[in-house]
């Protein structure tokens, strides 16, 4: 079936070059086109290709509603016109044939659904800067704020719980995995040098935001705590602080280590005295020379940390030693582990470049990917937990960018914040949540990542 589809781009060009292509996809049948090869103009861009595919789908199924697609050639996303792309990538064998009009060789183009947020939800307003956000639980969003409070949000911008107790700005929040339990445990880190653990019923229906108090205070850091990360099982949390250390803490409320003395915490303003547990660090990882700005604990035995001393360190939890360091030359603000085999390290810092290292490669000092579309410091980066290719980054230039490793350009730029974006995360696998200096929690939903 040879079809010539007229697209707006090639109306004027009668004798434009054509290239023989075949579309294939891993998508399910309604989105699958017949696997015949067709000749299309070589100056088509992603938009043109997308309309070609939509036309084909409509030809098969008249009720098909057109939707954007993204196209992959040899595992790379097409971002220029097809001809330019082929030239740039050096797929010359096809090009020469294309020039000779020997339409024998067929270029295989894989198409996937385009990844871009479809909808901008109503922002959830805070009283102060939103400094931290966690969307690892699909039921709710946990945010930390500069007004010393943590908040729990349901979908639709409803605040259900307010975590009250810190006397400094909350710098980092983390939802601790608690499978099959009614109560959800969360941990927050604050600039008042403590960490607090909280427990609440996420399913509970409330009309008014419910104030809750922490059940455990973790003291021990000598300076502001900057980041927190929970172990996969949820038994332990680790925290990175301005005192250059990473501390490990237990999360269970009945402390088996005999530190079960419940201390009556005296509040300054003669409030209700509430029994609170105090915890101490079970171990401290020393090695960084400056503020530990970000920690992640993706596997049981390894902690990754990024610091202002320009290094990314990998720690063995059992041994308490760092296994490897990567030096990047810039002060780092954020780190995340993900991607192929959950092994790639993405980190951003005091420059506009998001770097991705592959620690499995020998001699890993050089990043394997560098994304540099931001204009200012990168404050947060997060991998998608399902996809190997997608990650988001938030920057002080007020933008959240969605990246695919298969192209150097951002897939989409979420420009909903007016000032610095301080934190960002995925939520439910299809939404991007971000908080910033404009005191808003923005949710961009409809990101279709299969």
């Amino acid at each position: 079936m040879d079809m010539n589809i007229e697209t707006p781009e090639d109306q004027n060009e009668e004798n434009s070059r054509r290239v023989q292509v075949r579309f294939k996809t891993k998508l399910k049948p309604p989105q699958k086109v017949p696997s015949n090869s067709i000749a299309i103009p070589s100056n088509l861009t992603r938009f043109g290709l997308s309309s070609v595919v939509n036309n084909l789908l409509q030809a098969v199924n008249p009720e098909w509603k057109s939707e954007p697609f993204d196209f992959l050639i040899n595992g790379e996303l097409v971002r220029m016109s097809l001809e330019q792309f082929l030239l740039a990538k050096g797929i010359s064998a096809i090009l020469t044939r294309m020039c000779d009009l020997l339409q024998e060789k067929v270029l295989e183009i894989e198409y996937i659904k385009a990844v871009a947020p479809q909808k901008e939800e109503e922002p959830s307003l805070h009283d102060d800067w939103v400094s931290a956000v966690d969307g690892s639980n699909p039921g709710f969003i946990l945010t930390g704020c500069y007004d010393n409070l943590g908040r729990v949000w349901k979908a639709g911008g409803v605040c259900t719980h307010i975590l009250e107790g810190h006397c400094g700005a909350v710098s980092s929040v983390n939802i601790i995995k608690s499978d099959g339990l009614k109560y959800v445990t969360v941990a927050t880190a604050s600039k008042d040098q403590t960490l607090r653990l909280w427990k609440f019923d996420a399913e509970e229906l409330v009309n008014h935001p419910k104030k809750i108090r922490s059940f455990k205070i973790l003291r021990g850091h000598k300076a502001s705590v900057h980041s927190i990360a929970a172990e996969t099982s949820g038994n332990m949390v680790c925290s990175g602080s301005w005192d250059c250390t990473i501390s490990l803490w237990r999360t269970n409320d009945s402390d088996a280590a005999g530190n079960q003395v419940s201390i009556k915490k005296r509040k300054g303003n003669n409030q209700v005295e509430e029994p609170q547990l105090e915890g101490e660090a079970i171990s401290t990882l020393v090695g960084h020379t400056q503020c530990v700005s970000s920690v992640v604990w993706p596997q049981q035995e390894t902690i990754y940390s990024a610091s202002w001393d320009h290094s990314v360190r990998t720690w063995d939890v059992e041994m308490g030693k760092d296994l490897s360091d990567i030096f990047c030359g810039k002060a780092l603000n954020c780190i995340d582990i993900g991607g192929e085999g959950s092994a790639l390290i993405a980190a951003g810092g005091s420059d506009p470049i998001l770097r991705i290292w592959d620690p499995r490669k020998p001699g890993t000092s050089a990043p394997v990917f560098q994304f540099s579309s931001h204009n200012s410091w990168i404050s947060a980066c997060k991998w998608h937990n399902k996809s190997w290719f997608h990650l988001i980054s938030a920057s002080y230039d007020g933008k959240v960018m969605l990246w695919d490793l298969r192209t150097a350009w951002p897939l989409s730029v979420i420009d909903s914040h007016k000032d610095k974006v301080l934190c960002a995360d995925w939520w439910r696998g299809d939404s991007v949540i971000s908080g910033g200096v404009d005191s808003k929690l923005c949710v961009s939903s409809g990101v279709s990542i299969q």
Partner: protein, 731 residues
Amino acid sequence: MRERKKSSAVEVSSVKKKKEKKTKDNNEPREQKEKEESQSIMKQQKNTTSRSKKEKQRKATEDYQSLRESELSGDEVHGTDHDVDNADDHHEEDQTDGSEGHRGVEESDSSEDEVAPRNTIGDVPLEWYKDEKHIGYDISGKKITKKERQDKLASFLANVDDSKSWRKIYDEYNDEEVELTKEEIRLVQRLLKGKAPHTDFDQYADYVDWFKYDDALHPLSNAPEPKRRFIPSKWESKKVVQYVRAIRKGLIKFDEPKEEEPKFYLLWGDDSSAAEKANHLAYIPAPKPKLPGHEESYNPSLEYIPTQEELNSYQLMYEEDRPKFIPRRFTSLRSVPAYENAVKDSFERCMDLYLCPRVRKKRVNIDPETLKPKLPSRKDLKPYPVACYLEYKGHKGAVVSISTEASGQWFASGSTDGTVRIWEVESGRCLRVLEIGEAIQYVAWNPLPELPVLAVSAGQDVLILNTGLGNEEEQRRVKDLLHVETPTAPDDNMASIVSWLQHDKLDGIRLRHFKVAFSPLSIFSCIFVLVLDLGLVEDHLLKNLLLALMFTLDGVFGRMASQGRLPLHVFHPTRSIFFVSTKKNIRVYDLLKQRLIKKLETGLKEVSSIAIHPAGDNLIVGSREGKLCWFDMDLSSKPYRVLKCHPKDITNVAFHRSYPLFASCSDDCTAYVFHGMVYSDLNQNPLIVPLEILRGHTSSNGRGVMDCKFHPRQPWLFTAGADSVIRLYCH
């Protein structure tokens, strides 16, 4: 006597020639003769020059001739009478004549002896004065008016009556009637006859032989030539034989005949080497003109002839760019016209010669690149601050001072709006605003991390304030420290200088300073910090130390106070050494010994800022004229390097605590970052490399960047601008 006669004959003939040609020649004999003439004439006329005399003689002779022609017959007797007289006089005056002649020779120019003529117009044609009322000017510059001329008839009648009238001559030059004496007439008559003018000169006097000898018959010896004069000398021939033998034996060697160097010269070479050849110091070889080519031929080939289009395009060109010569064709050399610019060219050539500089300039053929010091590339000196990513906004007035906390998590800034703000570095959040109420001059954060207190100078006070950061234990300690009991019974010394008060509103201490009217308050803040450094938190110790310091430095500050300037100062990071700037110099004091150690001469107009390297051996000083001096204390009291970088005042300089970086900021709204490596090897001098100019601030009231501080741990630079913004430049 024969020679003498000859000379006089020459004289006579020359005199005759002179009279005929009326020319002047300066032969010596004639001069002598004139001398004689003048002597005789001067007896009657003292005030006539030789010039006028000649003139007169000329006139006289002319008149006389005319007279003679008219009165030849009647006056014949007169003439003969004179002649007879002359003959009589001849012998009597013969001797005197000779002696006089000699005297005349010895005398110099005769005209000088004479009285100057009345008229001073000089040797100009007299016709010029024909129509004037005067004939000229006397010696004092006054006009000499012409005499009334008698009409012809009256003068004729007067001449007829006057028997002497034939002897009168009119001197036109002086406008006078001159009456010649009888002697003069006689002299003239003798000249006319071709005789010697003077009667007492005998033309044909006998020869007098002056040389007398015994054998007067033969003036020379008549003896024949002796034979020996014709025989070759025996001794000479012996000598010749001797030489010949010596030459044969090779004892005497002759110089080798010089090989004639071929006299070539490089026709086509340039003249650069000619200057070296010429031993004339100021010899400047003329540049060689371009040799003529085919196009300058009178009949060049057709390809040299410009087309009409080319000619038109020449018209559009600038005068200078136009070709000087446009080839044309002529059938023969004869038809080539004259060169039209000949006059113009020669004029320009003259102008060139006149205007060209006559100074030899030594042209130095040095590539300017090689003169640059070999500095390492900027890329190798990374990291250093490059770009601004964060701005800290909130102040309402110019930010005057900033100070970072030791860990680099926070920093404080003071502004002219009367507030001190504490900022979080990483997020740009203003954590706290401390309202002081007076314009802040200086802010200093305690370098000890366990006591998060801030020293602020505002107005005439120093405030020591609690920042409110840190955990409870730290806060408790800070509160203890900052608590002041009720003003105790004042210590005698203390009362005169400083009083400690609890701050009314904010959590802190107010140090009120009484003695000096101006505010040397940043000093106190530094002192305070030093005191905290030493761990002296007990009040009396602190006070004592402050006192000691005050008295040590009192002299310096007192004098500077009188100049109305704020002294700048810095403490040595490790030793008890204190640096204070006077207007132009830096004084270095040892605080323990309490005396001056060293004086650093900056050579600047006015020191505006100083900073010390964390190792303590190097000091940078910024000045009001935009110069930056680097002092190496080990080298000398003169600056090791002076960098002229800023076009305006340098407001502050800063060293990085750990990276080899230093920076200066200026009122031109820029901050410069330099690499300043200090080596521990004493033989190696510090390496200074300019790295980056940081821009971004805007000017406000003529002020630009007011302060700059490095982040204590990162290679980042904070700049405080008069535009009320603080910027952070990152690497």
